[in-house]
């Protein structure tokens, strides 16, 4: 096991009807800025529920945070928060709204140009406004971690930042609030969480038995419940376990003490930035190709994953690895997510542009051993068509 430091102070409040506990969770004297996305939280009544729970507190609102939250838009929220002197933020939505809120939380008290936060990946964040979240979409794990990904539209770049200052103080997880999500959002969420686990698990053996078992447990849960969540949208138990699995997929626990990859994410980010493909869908496209390209480096873990999670134990090692990667791709497809770029209208003529963008963003040594070169990434992308 590698040395690690684990710290996660976010309070999880899990269950049906628990939004009303915001009255207990948000400081009584707080001036609150509620941040949300495209308006579904208005349509389904969640925003109203939040306002009721906040009672007599001074509350302002900032809506319209995009699925890939942009720096340009969020800077308007920063201006509003400063002008209205709010001292507590409340994100109501999915990972994009929460990621955006983390940026606002760090940017409001930031002394210089907040773009510097992203350029330095959060190392320069000395303080942040406290914030809570009301999660409406199980997917990114942002509700219980200290990371955030922001897009700057004008340069078509997605940049990540993280800081212990931007852990949510609390997150309310009410599985019933996911009942009305469109199937494609559930599918995206399941695949996003699944690939989060894979990035921290499917590397090389590092003697981390507990982390491996936990990761395998999350993968089994997501594979078992993902299709059920699509088939029975109002099944509380399914949605509850899915929601908790997505949170635990990226709260630092399974990644503590193990090598991590994240090449699939880095390559996928370019697909979102250039072609607007949903984040989770880029992961479903890139991962099978990456696993195949890296099947030697990931040999032992591919066999372990195949045996323990998928029950693939017959055949030669090469056959088992092939079957394991095929089964992973088949799972994504079963969730209704295409795993080849042409399905998203992106043809091989874009290969050079994609590789050039990876180079522009410094993604020249990816993977758990930092040995995935630009040429390797080109082959991974070529395998996505």
């Amino acid at each position: 096991m590698q040395d690690f430091e684990f710290f996660n102070p976010t309070r999880i409040v899990f269950g049906k009807g628990r939004i009303q506990e915001l009255d207990r969770l948000v400081p009584a004297q707080a001036r609150v800025l509620v941040l949300y996305g495209g308006g579904s939280v208005i349509a389904n009544g969640i925003l109203k529920e939040v306002h009721t729970a906040l009672g007599q507190r001074e509350v302002r609102e900032f809506g319209g945070i995009e699925p890939n939250p942009t720096y340009e838009n969020l800077m308007n929220a920063v201006a509003m928060a400063r002008q209205e002197k709010v001292d507590f933020l409340l994100a109501v939505g999915g990972g994009s709204v929460i990621d955006g809120t983390k940026f606002v939380a760090a940017a409001v008290p930031f002394p210089g140009d907040p773009w510097e936060i992203l350029l330095q990946h959060g190392r320069n964040v000395a303080s942040a406004l406290p914030f809570g979240t009301v999660l409406t979409l199980p997917a990114t794990g942002s509700e219980m971690n200290s990371g955030s990904v922001i897009m700057r539209r004008e340069i078509k770049a997605k940049l990540a930042f993280g800081s212990p200052k931007v852990f949510p103080v609390f997150s309310v997880l009410d599985p019933t609030k996911t009942f009305t999500l469109p199937p494609q959002q559930i599918a995206n969420g399941v695949v996003d969480a699944f690939v989060h686990v894979m990035e921290q698990y499917l590397t090389f053996p590092a003697g981390a038995q507990v982390q491996d078992r936990f990761a395998e447990g999350l993968l089994m849960t997501l594979m078992e419940l993902g299709p059920k969540a699509l088939a029975a949208p109002q099944d509380y138990e399914v949605r509850a376990s899915l929601m908790w699995a997505a949170t635990l997929a990226l709260n630092g626990l399974i990644g503590a003490g193990v090598p991590q990859d994240w090449a699939t994410h880095m390559i996928g980010h370019e697909l979102t930035a250039l072609f607007g493909i949903d984040h989770a869908r880029t992961l479903a496209v890139v991962l099978p190709s990456l696993l195949w390209e890296r099947r030697e480096a990931k040999h032992a873990k591919l066999l372990q994953y195949g045996a323990r999670v998928l029950g693939i134990t017959a055949g030669s090692e090469a056959e088992r690895i092939q079957a394991t990667i095929d089964a992973t791709r088949a799972f994504f497809e079963r969730m209704g997510i295409a795993t080849r770029l042409p399905a998203y209208g992106v043809g091989p003529e874009n290969l050079d542009t994609l590789v050039a963008q990876l180079k522009n963003h410094g993604m020249t040594a990816l993977g758990e051993r930092r040995d995935l070169t630009l040429e390797d990434s080109r082959r991974v992308l070529a395998g996505c068509f």
Copy 2:
């Protein structure tokens, strides 16, 4: 899944040689009271390492905390902490030292008679001294939770208390510090952690798929690594995964959102209080008998545990349950721990006394459904001979 609230702000600092980071972890101006047990931390040099790391800070020491820490002894530490005006505690040891330190942390600022803390199980703890831990024995999970068990010698009672105020601020986990532990302490630690998981897992199905998978992962890890830890005391990877497994066995995570039993612990506490049997050994004695006594109520989970953890899938359900309980007992015995009371010099003539003590301590409705009566506990105990 049941509703839950999960909150655990303890910082884990994991790896070889990390005691030296106490200088970063303990406030620079702190007046520190270092608490420890029977002196092994003097013999093996850990206490010296701690002092070196604490550098120029004002440090006092309180040694001699017992394996089952007593109220009587700890009150001397409370008096010393008050007199010396210490403002930070540092537990150096295993679960007993940490449990004792939690009591001291809560008692020092407590306005009334600190015994009230135990009588009210911590509900009356409004504040506590901050404290960290240096863990030397993987077992109880006390290094990452907010619970504590204290014995009052004069009335032969073990009482538990808990409070969010007594989470350790940090815990340093250095697996190499466990290399010199006597085999019976390692065996005790593995069994203690194993039964902690079972108390939160082996109840009835509650739709908590992630918690089940995590619990099963911990059980598999402990079963696989326990014997290896005895056979190869200096195997870092084995000790590291064992240490992390024991912490995660009782940090609130696998118990969030699920029914919990704890009858084995409650019955075991009486065996320790009356006969001085090691805590873990009482659990190894009681659990197999309790599982047998409750095999109907625990039917579904016994089958699941048998299949997923032990690979027991052949035979009738009754046969599989019998084999599952037998395999659990065999694991304890393989760890060198006797699972019958006569091996500890306790005969059936003590049955009435034990049941009377359970009654005295209000243990008349135990188990995940609060339906384990005194008569049931008598049968559980009768099955331990």
